[in-house]
Symmetry: C2
Subunit: 358 residues, 2 copies
């Protein structure tokens, strides 16, 4: 049976003084920071974890401290201690070597460097990890910044979301650059009719050319029905002239966009991302069934499944984590990748969010 | 090849005058309402569908009307015509006999009676169906009312949600009465510690009794971590005394609830549904991973999967349909049933929302 090491709590530092104990603790799991002279400095999180493992006692002024007291002490000394501890403990239990970033390095809110199983802290980290409470707010701007920082030094960014029972869901987040190989259709100019919030194209022969190879619209009777973004896009290209179905008069592009905005408050966001995805050679259809803006195909929808679900978000967008969690889980369950498209003044940035299984 | 029948448009009524044509149209698909004298009155929706099938021409004052003109006419005469038409057409194409409820009967907003394939409108309807645009607002109160009306006459209620491309997702909605068979634990009174938004119970032996058979909490180190609703429930039962982890002082139940509300703005809703589900003999755990409030087990979670995802909603709750769609889709993809728990002054009503495949 393993013997307990003892750490002393003094001036909010935890030190294992015995050289023998210090080296045992460090060598089995790379806990703490070895000090000159052979002692070992432990962080609060490491200490709590080692106590729970039965490898450590902590004393203060010669008296043994209980785990409760140490938890209280740790919680006092660090905000979000309980979330960080839960994530740390989970990763350590899975066999990873985990090191907290020192306070100076947390400019982007990244909490841990996670080293491969059987590895050590001198190797390159496998993940950079952020510990997040399910109750924290999701911010696309913060996430985008963190993705940039991590991918800039070629680190995989992993988010660890702890739910209210302490169960953790891991997400891997990375920059994305979706590309397809769909040929552009030759579209005959034609007329279509707008009825309330829908646009119908009734010419049977023309409908064919719109349906393939670019898969505009959806068959309805002998014609097709077009979505609002498809219609705007086709009007812009000069292919489509739209009539107001009730008044029987043509609608100009600008007026159509105004109507579309009234029907769909986030129409501009959608159109912006729709057109960017089209320009990348992708087939873009509504993602309603999956609760997202678009489902996106890299090739012929009759031959392959949609590969991505894409959701358009403005910079500054915030949400609750359960919403994000649901979106990723859903994408995952239908074997698609979830991509958030963040629209800012400098353009569109795509961020892929997938479930990770560390 | 089938011959065209001709309907005349007069004073906003559509009538097939020829007795022979009228009986052909009626007998193959039960379109229209046979009139005394042998003629057949058609609704606009039926007419548009028959035109698209190539079975009908429409004339007005002796002149043939184009499909475009009839669509415009129909859209003018009925709000939401385009949505209703899309759903009608989809169900008819799937082989169902579909009849619109006459205007007088639409108190609950139910649009169609759907009769079994190969059946006729004199049989009991298989579904009552509501045609809804993805862009309409979801209202739990309206839905609850519609479920009541339909289930009161033993009809299955089916919602047909048309997305922006006219693709339809069907949901079957019914009252639910979830029940389980979990034995109640004998819980030793004990202390726990609240640290920020989490509650920890450190006593190893006591933790065992909480973990089984009722599955309170989640193991963390040697103890367990409890959720806020679990903690409140256990305090109410007199099993748990909670200490404030930082101040080291006991927290009264009322103060705990105040703290919990600050952490989780919908805490009261959650607790209310949590306690009702517990009283029904169910195991209730967080549904965070699935984007809902709870996942619910009818038996031992080690032996069976969670059967339901339950989301607590206040009466008056509204949402967008894509949100609801996402929740149901997700539940379905993980083989669970989605239940909405509507909390009103008269109690909690459970509504099961499943995908339908008509």
């Amino acid at each position: 049976m393993e013997e307990y090491a003892t750490a002393e709590l003094l001036d909010s530092e935890l030190v294992v003084r015995s050289q023998k104990e210090a080296s045992t603790i460090y060598n089995k799991g790379f806990f703490g920071e070895p000090q000159s002279g052979g002692s070992l400095k432990l962080s609060m999180i490491e200490a709590v974890f080692l106590i729970n493992l039965g490898r450590l006692n902590v004393t203060e002024a010669g008296e043994a401290l209980e785990i409760k007291d140490i938890m209280r002490y740790a919680a006092d000394s660090s905000p979000e201690f309980e979330i960080k501890y839960i994530v740390y403990s989970d990763l350590r239990t899975r066999g990873y070597v985990v090191k907290a970033f020192s306070e100076q390095n947390v400019c982007s809110g990244i909490d841990f460097a996670v080293y491969p199983r059987g590895g050590n802290p001198k190797m390159p980290a496998e993940y950079w990890t952020i510990a997040i409470s399910e109750r924290a707010r999701f911010s696309i701007d913060e996430l985008q910044e963190q993705v940039k920082v991590a991918s800039g030094v070629r680190k995989k960014l992993m988010l660890a979301i702890a739910d209210e029972e302490g169960d953790i869901t891991y997400y891997e987040v990375s920059p994305s650059n979706p590309k397809g190989k769909v040929e552009k259709a030759k579209l005959p100019a034609t007329g279509a009719m707008m009825l309330k919030d829908r646009v119908f194209l009734w010419d049977e022969k023309v409908a064919e050319a719109y349906l393939r190879p670019e898969f505009y619209g959806k068959p309805l009777g002998k014609g097709i029905q077009l979505s609002l973004v498809e219609t705007a896009h086709l009007m812009k290209k000069g292919a489509l002239q739209v009539m107001d179905g009730r008044r029987g008069k043509p609608i100009e592009y600008d007026d159509f966009v105004k109507k579309a905005r009234r029907i769909q408050h986030d129409f501009d966001l959608r159109l912006c991302v729709y057109e960017d995805l089209k320009s990348r050679g992708l087939i873009v259809k509504t993602g309603f069934k999956f609760g997202s803006h678009f489902r996106v195909y890299r090739g012929d929808p009759d031959k392959c499944h949609a590969e991505y679900l894409v959701h358009a978000l403005p910079s500054g967008y915030k949400a609750t984590w359960p919403e994000i969690s649901r979106a990723i889980r859903l994408a995952h369950s239908v074997k698609k990748e979830m991509i958030l498209a963040r629209i800012s003044e400098s353009g569109i940035e795509y961020v892929l969010m997938g479930r990770a299984r560390p």
